[in-house]
Amino acid sequence: MSVNRREFLSVVAAAQGAFVLGFWLPSRAGAQTAPVASWYADPATPEVNAWIVIAPDDTVTIRIAQTELGQGVWTSNAMMVCEELQCDWSKVRPQYASANRDAREKAPAWTLNVMGAGAADPKGGGEPTFGNRDPKGVSGIPDSLYRRMRTNAASSVKDGRYYLQLAGAEARERLLLAAASLWSVPVAELTARNSVITHASSGRTTTYGQVARRAAETPHPHPETIVIKPPDQWTLMGTEQKNLDVPLKVTGQATYGIDVRVPGMKWAAVKACPVYGGDVKRFDFDAIRTQPGVRSAVQFPIPDPALTRGRVFSGGVAVVADTWYQAKAALDRMPIEWEIPPANAAFNSANMREALLAALDRPGQVRADLGDVEAGFTRAAKIVEATYSTPFLPRARMEPGNATVLVGDNRVDIWIGDQSPQETRFSAATITGIPETNVHLHLCHLGGGFGRNGNGPQAEHAIMIANAHRGTPIHLLWTREEDFIGTTYRAMGVARLKAGLDADGWPIALDVRTAMQEGGFGPEASFHVTSRYHVPNYRYSNHTTKFHVPVGTRRGVGQAAHEFYRESFMDELARAAGKDPYRYRRELLARTNLPYKNDMIKALDIAAEMSGWGTPLPRGTARAIGLEERGAEGNGMATISAMVHTVSVSRRGTIKLERVDVAHDTGFGLVNPLSVKKQIEGQITWFYNDAVHQACSIKDGRIAETNFHVFPLSRIDEDPPEINIRFFPTQHWLIGMGHDRATSVQSAIADAIHQITGKRVRDLPFRGHDLSWA
């Protein structure tokens, strides 16, 4: 039978948010036996505080409230706690914090106020992103138990460091108080190191494990007096520590969301309308209902935009079966007709590009206007103008979207790798009507993040489907193709930069216009604050148009595209002026009043020196330099790096990144320099891949490239053979470095291509441009 909506309602048990059709009535008993993940099981000893449990054998469990997705947070968060706790690092075991407790308990008062004098105070807590106390954790950090549970904006260390250090210190002081009361000695006579407490004058020792139970019952009399160690006293933080979960990752034992197995679980495969904003017109479940393992089909609506930060995805249909492959195979054979909004289907990459370019010519929102730009152009000896573009880009993390959800009568369990569990908890409560305090979200490792993946509606899909099958756990898994449809995109963008140079080649006027669709993230990067490189007359405006593609916070956000525009244009200006691009940048930074200009100059100097800047290279090979900074236009927290990329282009036009020399600031101190090195190495090839290969185009309103045969991923043969990293200290706290380092690969390859071939490529990716030379 062909099912339309009316027939549907007559045969179906409708649950909020989804319609289910099938011959299988799930058991409600499952809800009463919802499995409790073993990692929340109460250990023999009660916790000292919400972050720390110490077992009698001295094993220290440290709870991690962010999600491990390769950035090393399981290790760095544990290091920050352990530094103050003074426990034996070899006995530390991370486990995920309970997002359910976070819904039920308030944070200790001592976590709520940042101590110290901000970004430039080494004894303080830096400048966490506080804003308001948004319980979903989106526009501010909640005051619920674990504070910030989001994993985004390279901010886990920036935001969490002071309260994680405090958590370790609070527990250490209570362990000492417990030992002091046990021995009836003044606590001041005790010392703690490596999980051992010593009373020097009597020679007595005990271990944390021996006094942990007593410490759990000993409140801290004055937690507001606890101080944290400044970097010059760190002994564990600042040292290279291997990531604690690597042994699990080399044996196949790490648990990602896709690996979750729950008794009685069924699998769901999904197809959402490939044109955003579209929905299901009809589908024919009868055509597949006798396929092996098939249990039901569920139509679900466009996920409520209030749960996806205003983004409009698509409605779709799921097939539920005993195994995922059965569900997918049946879904592939099920006839589905879509209801597609004609206006959305009219979008194509070419007309979207035209629309963005047209937006540049309309008056935009002027965000910076310094001096008189037009007068500057009139006086200029030379005008340089260039238009750049960057395509839509998905995250394409290796683990496709998935979530396992069990909705009971008054309890929801979710197993998911999620960059924003507090938001997902809210979605679960909203869709099911079950209060957030009864939502048990069990965090799993995530197979790549690259921008809050929960922006895509994997969790909302799974919750809607499971809500239509109350009592039965449903494991939803997107195919790779669905993952391309379900993710949010970095917005397609264009920029036009126009400069007037004086007779010596220095810029005297600069007009920067950028355009992306409404809702695009980081539409101005930091152009609205400063030109970065000195120019006395400066104007920046941003321009928008409306597209239907859901856009979000992909790695590097707006910064990645805007650095391509800004740094490419600096190279073009230097070439137009006949000056060396390194020294040109250096001089223009020196002329600014930017608070961190000396650190930026230092980064350029170190990278240039490391690379042998100016020494001869073989024909077909060139060096190019780029500066990367976030926050350095202000005087708060910042991260600054410079990179020199040595690039070759074969006569046939094949690009090879041969070598990268990196100067990176450490601020007052890095928590785990090993993880920072790994992040830099990885982001070099990430942005190389973006620059050389990656693009998603829009055809008839759809994403045209939805798997890796048409969306190429760089492999090991494209990784640069040589990467040299040198750290240099600066006098501020770092803002983070997990997402916007190595953006300079993009402009540097463009400039190297220009040096070698004479061609200037302004539209990413480089693939598709003829780069051959004779």
């Binding site: 090393g72 790549g448 790994k678």
Partner: protein, 154 residues
């Protein structure tokens, strides 16, 4: 339909359509989840395991093709996580998110079985797995270290 697969030396009786891709039989019937799904079209290599000593992208071959042949997955690489490749990966802290690493390690095993002292060009040619975190820099070093460790062991 029931058939038998020998995985990591242990026979498993499986009740599944023999045309089901080997990956899904290993994950959902045999119950070993270390081998990962990512693209489903044999492009990325996250699902790499060995059948009869050769690396196979298991998302794209029917389970029936592995009947009667020994299958090796990441879980069977060593009993204690101390295979030279695992030791080298741990020493260099190679994984980031780790999702692709089971497949990457199984490809490295195939490479080292073919080229016990691989050149960089051998690595480029044989280890074609995709890693979005781009851990390639450490993976390359770890392959060379594993080759050294295996030489010492041999």
């Amino acid at each position: 339909m029931a058939f038998e697969l020998t995985v990591n030396g242990t026979p498993h009786r499986v009740d599944a359509d023999p045309q089901t891709p080997l990956l899904w039989v290993i994950r959902d019937h045999v119950g070993l989840t270390g081998t990962k799904f990512s693209c489903g079209i044999g492009q990325c290599g996250a699902c790499t395991l060995h059948v009869a000593g050769r690396p196979v992208r298991s998302c794209s071959v029917p389970a029936s093709t592995a009947v009667g042949k020994p299958i090796l997955t990441i879980e069977g690489l060593s009993a204690d996580g101390r295979h030279p490749i695992q030791l080298a990966w741990t020493e260099l802290d190679a994984p980031q998110c780790g999702y692709c690493q089971s497949g990457m390690i199984m490809s490295a095993l195939a490479l080292l079985q073919k080229h016990p002292a691989p050149s960089d060009a051998d690595i480029d040619a044989e280890v074609t797995n995709a890693c979005r975190c781009s851990t390639y820099h450490r993976v390359r070093k770890a392959i060379h270290l594993a080759a050294d460790l295996m030489k010492v062991k041999a």
